[in-house]
Symmetry: none
Subunit: 203 residues, 4 copies
């Protein structure tokens, strides 16, 4: 396994925490949070359950740590977004970068999508909701009509859904991502322009 001479056991040194996170995320995404037991994670790693507890105080802490680690880009994105003017360009930028961020932490986001009920009870729930709200507030003009607000939200959701629902549509993965992004950008643009026109009209 690999060309180097490190035995599997040696390799393991010092990165157990990482390996736990990896395996946990994989299983959480695959089977859901509740259906994944610590026993299962431990077995996959050929460690004891107790070892997990050396690295994480609780099961919840594992998912929280994953969330914190993998979600940082999005936090920064929002931070950045907030400081920008609410122009169309900013919004499009946000959408583009958000798309990238999602792609970079796909399994986590699949997990969050498919385990919303669970996530809501977890400590991450609120944090995540806050972020979603943060994004929304950047994309949405407060004075926009309801339809346009929906458009913006829909854009975000299209990105989310795009990752998973499109799996059973034929076509190259990269192409699909681009198509999804295009639709999302479109929605955001429509919302923006429409609101702009209404504003001009009122003057």
């Amino acid at each position: 396994m690999g060309g180097t001479m490190d035995g599997t056991k040696q390799q393991r040194r010092g990165n157990t925490r990482q390996r736990i996170q990896d395996v946990a995320l994989e299983l959480f995404a695959e089977q859901g949070y509740e259906k994944t037991s610590l026993r299962e994670i431990a077995e996959r790693l050929e460690v004891t359950k107790a070892a997990l507890y050396y690295h994480f105080k609780t099961k919840e802490e594992i998912i929280v740590s994953l969330f914190d680690d993998l979600t940082k880009p999005i936090e920064e994105l929002i931070e950045w977004g907030r400081s920008q003017p609410h122009t169309l360009e900013t919004k499009q930028d946000i959408v583009r970068r958000y798309s990238d961020a999602l792609a970079g932490a796909e399994p986590l986001f699949r997990f969050m999508q498919e385990n919303q009920a669970t996530v809501r009870e977890l400590r991450i729930g609120d944090t995540f909701k806050d972020r979603m709200r943060g994004l929304r507030d950047i994309l949405i003009d407060p004075e926009a009509e309801l339809v346009d607000q929906v458009r913006s939200v829909s854009a975000m959701f299209t990105l989310h859904a795009g990752m998973f629902v499109l799996q059973d549509i034929e076509g190259d993965a990269e192409k699909k991502r681009e198509a999804v992004l295009e639709v999302a950008l479109d929605l955001v643009t429509q919302a923006h322009e429409h609101t702009r026109q209404r504003a001009r009209f009122r003057e």
Copy 2:
């Protein structure tokens, strides 16, 4: 509860099955499937767990029965849709009716949306996926460009998401539903027209 004078116990006769379904759906939607125990359902109904088992062979059968009952309108909708010509009107009709159907079984759909990981393992999972595919095949022109395919899928997803995500946007519920519907119709229409134009262009 109700204006009549019947005691609670008498009322109970003969509709226990129903009451189980009601309470179960409520709890499933609220806390998720795994986190809702049969004990909890039973307690809420002031019956024993064993009573639940008189009416349903397994926990899964409860959710399956709910799914079967509440989902029938959608099945019929698809049936109907399949027999129609693939015109824009048909598609718009489908979207409108689907929106109605979703509204009529909101808690179930919230449940399914928020417990996708669980649903996937349950017997309903496949059935539901089939239905989604059924809808998709009606809304999507096979020769449409990828972007337009995404638009159609996005329409469906906007309807789904609309029900839940919009909860924390201010505004009258009915108005929000209309806005969501409008966006969905818009997406479908855009997809249809665009595809049509491309076709004409080719000739």
Copy 3:
């Protein structure tokens, strides 16, 4: 089913008790007493569990009734045996008739063989043990040597075992029964003669 015109339902009239016994015995013999639930019996008969309770007060009563009904010939055999002189002929007769009795209630005896632990706890347990002792006392001369006592017991046990253990030896069922009987008779005869000789020797 059968040449007569009686529908299945009519047939059923009035002999439900019998049918319960039949099905119960079949299932008890096949799966054991504890592993056979009343639900199973009821389902096989297409009746409700409650119906069983109309005919039998408890689950145990079902097996007791079977035991009482099917075991009567053996009781009578013992009764008869007790009144006979302890000659070799009597003993051989007992063995022969016991063999017949066993064959006539095979499933019950298979059940008792294979569920001794259960039977011991049931009310039948003691009754059965008494009968076995009754038989033994007829076959065994109190003054016989231990080996000869064992021979007699072994004869009985050979008959029991013969019914079931020989199932996976090739050969015609009837022939096997005869062979088993022969060995049992042999054992009893050896025991008898040997004891007789010792007695004569002592005089």
Copy 4:
């Protein structure tokens, strides 16, 4: 227990698995497999049920482990028997050693004898049947008459039965075992000689 001064709790360390097996076997033999609950075993040991599950994955695994451990001598016996010539001496040896083996694992064999219905469903069932067949094939000459085949089988069964049925015959346990053994040897010898004679006669 033992002359040392160790407290009960200390003693417990490291041999829990053993103690579970001991108690389980005791209870299984006494009350049967199904009627013995894990709760009961756990209580007797003053541990929690969960502790049992630390040592054995299922209830069945407990009995399987007992079977595997206690039954090894018999497996070896059969192994040995197969490599020997089919002489009378071999057969007698087998019977003698089998008698010893049975005595060494009496409770297990009582359990198996009294819970045949259960054992049949367990994973041990087939293994045990195979062993019995193995023994049989060593003791029985294929060309023997049916009666003689029965004699051999009866010998084995006499040994089995001897252990338990004789419990309520008066007399010293050791003496009884010898008597049983003698009868079993006798049966095997009779079968062997009789078959031999028939063979000589045919020439």
